[in-house]
Amino acid sequence: MAKLTSRYAVYISLAFILSYLESLIWLPIPIPGIKPGLANIVIVFVLYDTGRIRDVLAVSLVRIILSSLIFGNMVMMIYSLCGGMLSAFLMIAAKKMKRFGIIGVSIIGGISHNIGQLAVAAVTLLTYQLIYYMPVLIISGTVSGFLVGLFSGICVKRISGYNGGT
C-alpha cells in the first residue's frame, strides 16, 4: 500500500511539474488551447506501465486539480478537467481496442484533449462558431500527441515494470 502511494506521488508530482514547466517556457500561440501537453507523457506512461484504469484516472484527476488550484483558477480547472478527463477516457478505450500503438493512443489523447476544451469554450460562449478553430486544434493535438507518445514510448521501453530498488 505504501508502495502504491509513493508511486502515485511520483507520477502526480512529475505530471504537475511538467505542466508548470510548460506554462513557463511555452510561447503563447494566439489560439487558446494549443500547448504541447508535456504532462501527458506521464499519463500515457502510467497507462502502459500499470495499465490499470484507476491509476490513469487518479493521476490525471489529481494532477489537473492540483495544478489548476495552484497555478490557475476555477475557469482553467473546468477547461482542464473536461479536456484532460476526456483525453484519459478515450486513451484507455483506445488502448483496450488493441488497434493502436502507444503513439496512436497518445495522438487520440491529444486530439480529444483539445476537442474537450473547445467544447467547454463553445458552451461557455454559447456558440457553434468556434468550430472554425477545430482543424487547427486537431492538427496541433495530433502533433503534440505524436511527440508525447514517442517520448513516453521510449520511457515505457526502458523503465516500465520497474518495481523499486532493493
Binding site: 503563447p28 494566439p30 489560439i31 487558446p32 475557469v75 477547461y79 488497434r99 493502436f100 500503438g101 502507444i102 503513439i103 496512436g104 495522438i107 487520440i108 486530439i111 469554450a121 461557455t124 460562449l125 454559447l126 456558440t127 462558431q129 468556434l130 472554425y132 478553430y133 477545430m134 482543424p135 487547427v136 486537431i138 492538427i139 495530433t142 505524436f146 507518445g149 514517442l150 514510448g153 521501453k157
Partner: protein, 123 residues
Amino acid sequence: MLRKNDIILAVSVILICIGMIVLYNIFGKEGEVVHIISDGYECGVLPLNENAVMRVPDSGRDYNIVVIKDGSVFVSEADCPDSLCVNQGKISRAGETIICLPHKLMVTISGSSLQEDIDGKTY
C-alpha cells in the same frame, strides 16, 4: 510503439483538417456584419465597412477594446491575464472569430445583415 493504424490515423486526420482549412479559405464569405457577444449577450452589431471602436464593457475592469478598421476587426487592448485575444490578429471573413475566454467575449463576423442566413427559399 508505432503501428500501421497510428500512421493511418495521423495522416488522415491531418489531411481532413487541411482540407477543412482550404475549404474555409475558398468558400469563406466576405463578412459584412460584426457581432460582439459578451457572456452570451450580443452587445454590439456593427457593419464591417465602417471604422469603429468599441470598449466592452463600457467601463470598469475586465475590458476589451474592439476595433473595426479598413474592413477587418481586431482587439487592440485588453486587461485579461493572457492577452491571447490581442494576439489573435485580424479577422475579416464570415465565420471567423476572436475570443477572449477569461472575459467570455466573442467577436465574430457574419455574412449578411440578417441574423440568420437564409439557406434557400421555396415558393
